[in-house]
Amino acid sequence: MVESAKGMNDLSSEMEVDAFRRLFPLRFHERHLLESVRPDARPLGKARDTSLALGAVASADGSALAKIGSTTMLAAIKMEVMTPAKETPDEGCIAIEFHMPAICSPIVRPGRPAEAAPVVSKQLSDTIVSSGMLDLKELSLVSGKAAWMAYLDIYCLDADGALFDAALLAAVAAFSHLQIPVVSLNDDGRIVVFSKESEGEKPKNKPVNEEKRKLKLRSIPFGLTCIIHKNYILADPTAEEESIMETLITIVLDSSYQLVSLYKPGGPALAYQPIIQDCIALSRQRVGELQTILNEAICDMEVD
C-alpha cells in the first residue's frame, strides 16, 4: 500500500476525478490526506457547518432541528403522565428513541430497520442519563401518584455521517426548548391540562406544577465523532468517509469539558494514547462551538 501512493499518481492523471473516486475510494481519500485536506475542502480537524432551530414541531412540547453538514435530525419531546415506580416515587422518567425512517438513506428500506438505529438509540440514552444533565426529580408531579414521562423521539431526516453527534445535539436542544404544560389533578385522580378558560365554569383544582415549567439543564453533553486512519484524525466524517475508513471514535464532553463517554466500537485501527488525546482536544474545541450554537438558538427563540 505504501508504493500505491506513487502508483496512483500515474493512474489519477489519466482518469477522470469522479471515476477515480468511485473505483479507488481509499486511494482517492489518502491522496487528499497527504495534502491535509478533505474532498469537501475541509481541513482534517474541522467539523461541518452546523445549524440549530428550536420549536420546529408545533404538536410537541419541545422540539429542535439540528443540521451538521447534510446530516439532519429532528427531535421532539412529548410529555405524558405515568405512575412512578415504587422504588422512586419522586422521579419521572425519560424514554429516548432514535429512528431512521426510509427517507433518510438509500441503505434503509421500510420493514428492514437500519442496524445503526438501535445502536445510536442506546448510546443516546446512556449518554443523556449518565451525563447528569437532567434531574429526574424535577419530573415529579404528585409524589408516589403521578410523574412525567418524557418521550423523546429523534428522527434522522438525512443521513450523511456523524449521526450520533447530530442526534445528541438535537436531543439536548429539544430539552432546552421543552416547555412543560401546566396541569392539575382532577377529582378522578387523573392529571389534566390546566386551562384558564374553564375556570369560570366551575372551581377547578389548582395547578400542581406552575413554577416548574422549564427543566434546569446542568452540564449539557456534546459529542464529536472522529475517524482514525493511520496517523490521521478526521473530525466529523461524512457518510462516504465513514464507509471507506472504518475506525470511528466518539467522544462526549459536557459543557464544563468533563469526559462523559468515550466510545470506540472496534475497527481496524487501534487507538493509542496520543491519538485519543488529540481527539479529546478536538472535541474540547467542538464543544465550545456547539455551546455557542445552542445559546444562539435559545436567544433567537426568546426574541421571537
Binding site: M82, I103, P106, D158
Partner: protein
C-alpha cells in the same frame, strides 16, 4: 402495580379527551354559517410551501408544508428490484408512507400505513412513464412530520414533485386536493379538526396540464349535485396547485444553474 425497571409503565396524555371537544363543536359545524377554525373562507386552500432537494442522500426529494401538515418525500432509484421479483418489462413503483410518533396530537406508536401507501401508489403510477426504467424499481418513501389534515393529498403532491426532482419521466405532475362535506357546506383543504367532523370526503388527484384524473375517492354521505360541485372545486384547486408546483421546480432548476 409498580413498573419494573426496563419496562415502560403505562402512560396517558394530559390533554383533554377528544370526546369533550366533539360535544362542544358539532353544533357549531352543523350551522349553515360558521367560521373555520383557522379563519379561512370555505373555498380557500391553506398557503402551500414547497421545496425540492430536502434530502441529499436521496436521488430526489421534496418537502411540503400546508398549514400544520408537514411532509418529506424521498425518491430512491431507479435501482435493482428485489431478488424475489419476477422479470418485468416495465419499471416498478414501490411506495411507503410512515408517520413520526409526534405527528398526531396524542403520541402514537409506529404503525404501517398500508392503505395510505397503496393509495399513493395508485395515484402516482398513472402519471409515471414506467417503460423508461425496465427491470428496476423506483422507491417513493414519505414521512409525515406533522399531521394537520389532508395528509394524503399533500403526500401525493409532494411525491410527484420529488419524482420530478429525481428526474423520473412523467406525463405530468400530479396535484391532489380534497374537499370535506360538513353539513350543508363544502370546505376545501380541511384541517384535522374539520376532517373529524365531516360527513363525507372527496379527493381528486389529477394531471393538471392534461386535465386527466388519476384517482377519485369519495367516502361518506354525498348527493349528486354536491359531488359535481366538489369535483369542480377540486379540479380548479388542482390546476392552481399544479402551477405552484411547476414554479417551485423552475425555481430550483434556475438556482442550480447559477
Amino acid at each position: 402495580m409498580a413498573a419494573k425497571a426496563g419496562t415502560t409503565p403505562a402512560t396517558y396524555s394530559p390533554s383533554p379527551t377528544t370526546n369533550n371537544k366533539k360535544k362542544n363543536r358539532t353544533p357549531l359545524f352543523s350551522d349553515v354559517d360558521w367560521v373555520r377554525p383557522d379563519g379561512r373562507d370555505f373555498h380557500q386552500c391553506r398557503p402551500a410551501f414547497l421545496r425540492t432537494g430536502a434530502v441529499n442522500a436521496a436521488s430526489g426529494s421534496a418537502y411540503a408544508e400546508f398549514g400544520n401538515t408537514k411532509v418529506i418525500v424521498s425518491i430512491f432509484g431507479p435501482r435493482e428490484s428485489k431478488k424475489a421479483m419476477m422479470y418485468s418489462d416495465i419499471g416498478r413503483l414501490n411506495c411507503n408512507v410512515s408517520y413520526t410518533t409526534f405527528a398526531t396530537p396524542v403520541r402514537s406508536q409506529v404503525s404501517d400505513n398500508k392503505d395510505i401507501s397503496s393509495q399513493l401508489h395508485k395515484s402516482l403510477e398513472g402519471a409515471i412513464m414506467l417503460n423508461t426504467f425496465p427491470k428496476t424499481t423506483v422507491d417513493v418513501f414519505a414521512l409525515v412530520l406533522e399531521s394537520g389534515g389532508c395528509d394524503l393529498p399533500v403526500i401525493i403532491s409532494c411525491a410527484s414533485l420529488a419524482l420530478a426532482d429525481a428526474g423520473i419521466m412523467m406525463y405530468d405532475l400530479v396535484a391532489a386536493v380534497s374537499v370535506s362535506c360538513i353539513g350543508k357546506n363544502l370546505v376545501i383543504d380541511p384541517i384535522s379538526e374539520e376532517e373529524n367532523h365531516q360527513d363525507g370526503n372527496l379527493m381528486t388527484t389529477c394531471l393538471p396540464s392534461r386535465n386527466e384524473v388519476t384517482q377519485l375517492t369519495i367516502t361518506g354521505e354525498w348527493s349528486t349535485p354536491k359531488i359535481h360541485e366538489a369535483m369542480e372545486l377540486c379540479l380548479d384547486a388542482c390546476s392552481k396547485l399544479g402551477k405552484i408546483m411547476r414554479s417551485c421546480l423552475k425555481e430550483s432548476a434556475s438556482t442550480s444553474q447559477e
